[in-house]
Amino acid sequence: MNGGLRFWLAWSWRDLRGRWQLVLAIGLLLAGGVGLAAGLASMRDWRVASNDESFAQLGVHDLRVEAEQGSYAPTGSLAQAARRIPDADMIAAAGERLIAPTQIDASEAAGHTVITPGQVIGVETGAGREVSGVTVTGPPVDSVAVTEGDGLPTRSGAVAGILDPQYAKENGIAPPAQITVAGGERIDVVGLGNSPETFVVIGPGGSFSSEADYGTVFLPLAAAQRVAGLPGKVNDLAIELAPGADAGRVATELRDQIERDLPGFGLEVTDTSDIDGRRILYDDADNDQQLFDVFAFLILAGAAFGAFNLISRTIESQRREIGIGMALGVEPRRLAIRPLLMGLQIAVAGVVLGVLVGLGVNAWLRGLLADQLPLPFLDTDVRWDRFATRAAIGFAIPLLAAAWPVWRGLRIRPIEAIEAGFRSARGGGLAPLLAKLPTPGRSLAQMPARNVLRAPRRTLLTVLASAAVISVAVSMSGMLDSFRATVDANAAEQGRMAPDRLEVTLAGFVPADAPALRRLADSPLAAATDSRLSVPATLRSANDEIDVVVDTIPGRDPVWTPRATAGSLPEGPGEVLIAESAAEDLGVGVGDRITLIHPVRAGPDRFETGEDEVVVSGTHADPFRFPVYMSGSGAAAFGLEGRVNAIDVLPPAGVGENTVKRALLTHPGVATIESASTLGDALEEGLDEFGAIIRVVVGIAVVLVLLIAFNSTAINADERAREYATMFAYGLPVRTVVRLAIVESLLIGLLATAVGLLLGVLILGWVINVSIEEVLPELGVIGSLSLGTVALAALAGVGAMAAAPLLTIRRLRKMDVSSTLRVVE
């Protein structure tokens, strides 16, 4: 009996030697799917672990007292209020800060012109400590992680600070270096580092601000106060709670205490979950993983379909042998050995190669994360548990694919197996239906379509396999297309009237007729100016509540005004023009009423929160959701009649943007200067980074389609060997035979492309309307599919499929026709 087993094993070994290329090719196909899935699966784990570690190491605040824009408190008063609350023992640590917007000129340090908006954060200093190569310095709550250079000087007055490493990297700044901030104050940059709230740059464009265009400088508190021109003032308190403390109670007590200590001081108490950057980091990790999972699943499904099809076809062709074996009385389990061993070989090849591919994908993603994740602490160890589940799938597929036809083969009577072997390879399928159609012309022309229809199940599996993979390529490229369309839409709106204009924000709300403004308007470096109010606010409807920025539309000769794509521009004081995507999210249309929650000026340095009912007069086409426009008369609602805090400046023809920026920076009262195109440029930059990931996945998808196409034609050529030999016996040239195979493959490719495109569009719709909507609610991404993407799908589907038969030319040329015909099945 043992000798019997050895005989079957020896036979299988001979099978493998004859078929190792096929085993390897199918293994590689599986490996592509398993590897990509396994490699991509670790991303969330990595990012969540890195987030956790980074926030914990820096002692992220549990509560934060944030002053309204323009409100300040005397140094020490906020900390004192915290000490005075009834449950003061619930507060473990608290630190006051001054957070002030500024303008940074880092041209000298960068070696080229770098003038951008940014912020100065003044913090209490403390001794640093080392945590895995990173110096943690500054206050105990919301510490600063210094990744390069020195920590904050403990000598509180020194004007030496820490610069955001991403800003430094993007602009080519290395410490030690010197930068200048608004007001002309020079700062020594001694190190690079950031704190939990600045991991993600939230500049004027929200989370869209590019790292290169918004800089954060950490300074000792006193230095920051001097630099910002706010001596003795703070506007922020970061709090760490004691274990088991009731955050809600502490928040309420804080609010009450500060109201008692500093009557009329506008503030907001927020907690850890309100940190935008933190939310973005965790949400991104989740949502990106969701996307990756969908793509990985599709690619794995494509590889699985493909492998399943190829394996079951290969084994199907052994069914005659199984039948003969059964007729000779061989036990079924012996007969199952050969086909199952083939499945096992493919499984092993697929898993081993798959783990290698997965580790490769891991390494690539690890580099990408290290490059792009703004976190000081990363945890990107290989997650073997993720690998294990994917590998198990990759292992099971070939075994199932082999077991299925064997099981079918063993269940039927031997004679049927012998016949079915003959029939299944040649059977009618749907071909008889086609035969009834009147088909003109040459018999040859009909063969490809007949062959496609004659084995509908096989055709379907091949089509599904390729379509799944193509859909990934389509939806991923479609995402790029959509972002591109969105960027273009933004550029079309913002670049409509004066694309070169600079948007200047002022340090405060100044009277519209202030001499400083007039000087600015009369400056030779401003061809035209207009001024307006720009105020952060919130829009609320029954549906939703969104953060917006309300700008008033300048009166006469505006440099730039918005355009209503539906309805009209706002006129009275109670009208607003909102973004189409805002209208969609709020569930409102032109003429509807919504609530505007906004600051109201209650005195110098004092703002309170007010609520007004406003009417949507129209919508604009900027894909960003936040811009809201009111007429000039809207200023009254904010208690800011006759005051402005933003100016549009159009540089004169022939004068460079940087020249104007530099000149404006010296004007008193100017806080930040930005090109109108900054936001669009930041989007564009994000697009480029994102594009790299997409191109890699699309590349893998195209390779997989090629593998599916090639394997399936190779197996075809095997199955059809006798047909081809007969054609050659009739003198049909190889060229013609290959052409027939190409047409057949092309038909399958066309079907696969059509299904893939359809599936891809559906996925794209889901990505844009569900997934991206969650990650980037501030952006109304415009769904779009470019001709290039469709062409890519066609190239992958139709092109790869059509080209695959070319690879069989050599084998067909070398075919021994007489021997092939000699073997009588």
């Binding site: 029939r423 390879a425 040649r426 059977g427 009618g428 071909a431 008889p432 035969a435 009834k436 012309g441 040459r442 018999s443 040859l444 009909q446 063969m447 007949r450 062959n451 004659r454 006798r722 047909e723 030999a725 007969t726 054609m727 050659f728 016996a729 009739y730 003198g731 049909l732 040239p733 026709v817 007489s818 015909l821 000699r822 009588v824 099945e825």
Partner: protein, 245 residues
């Protein structure tokens, strides 16, 4: 009669001189064909007779340019085949030869009519569809044109295969044991068919068999043994009805 040598004039349609086909296998040499001389003229119905392994299939294959001899020359229609290029060999098969195989080798994806049409198409006949219909009717399957091979019996499949070879309208038809898988009565019908075309279109038909009975219908019987021609004689064809399998 059409089968007489003078009917075709001087040049034979098929001419083999000293043709050998040797296989080198594991140190030994298998002489599938050894020094074969053979001439066949248009309209001849030649039976190649021999035991299994005597080299019959090899002989048909080298005549049909599916295989090349290791020595000797083969001329088909006056042209030397042994020195021909690949392209010329393919053209030769298209325009001079029609093959019939023991196991039919019909295209499973094509109907009976389309299989026949294939033969006419490949040979470059402009009226392929009409010619196919005619030939199919001629082999008695005019009504079965829409059927796929798996819907036909073995004899019917072989008749379609014959129709496919005949539809090409080429001067030589090579049949390798065409009755081998068929019962007696069907075999007789097949032979009648093949015999018929030598008279109606002057086609030279070479039929391979290991069955001595079949040899009796031939104009001429060439006997092979161990790769050599051991006899080549004219034969007075027996009436098909007299055959016993």
């Amino acid at each position: 009669m059409a089968g007489e040598p003078n009917a075709a004039g001087g040049e034979p349609l098929i001419a083999l001189r000293g043709v050998s086909r040797h296989y080198e296998i594991g140190g030994g040499t298998v002489k599938a064909l050894d020094q074969v001389d053979l001439e066949v003229r248009p309209g001849e119905f030649v039976v190649i007779l021999g035991a299994s392994g005597s080299g019959k299939t090899t002989l048909l294959n080298v005549i049909g340019a599916l295989d090349l001899p290791t020595a000797g020359t083969i001329r088909i229609g006056g042209r030397d085949v042994t020195g021909a290029t690949r392209r010329e060999l393919f053209a030769l098969r298209r325009h001079e030869i029609g093959f019939i195989f023991q196991s039919f080798n019909l295209f499973p994806g094509l109907t009976a009519l389309e299989n026949v049409e294939f033969g006419a198409d490949v040979a470059g006949r402009a009226d392929a569809r009409d010619a196919a219909g005619e030939v199919l009717a001629q082999v008695g399957l005019g009504e079965r044109g829409d059927h796929f091979p798996h819907e036909l019996s073995g004899g019917e499949q072989q008749r379609v295969a014959i129709a496919r070879a005949l539809a090409a309208g080429n001067p030589i038809v090579l049949a390798d044991e065409p009755t081998g898988e068929l019962d007696f009565e069907t075999g007789v019908q097949i032979l009648e068919l093949l015999h018929g075309v030598t008279h109606t279109s002057g086609t030279a038909v070479l039929v391979v068999t290991h069955n001595r009975e079949i040899a009796r219908v031939a104009d001429r019987v060439v006997e092979l043994s161990s790769g050599t021609v051991v006899s080549d004689r004219a034969n007075e064809p027996a009436a098909l009805a007299d055959l016993r399998w």
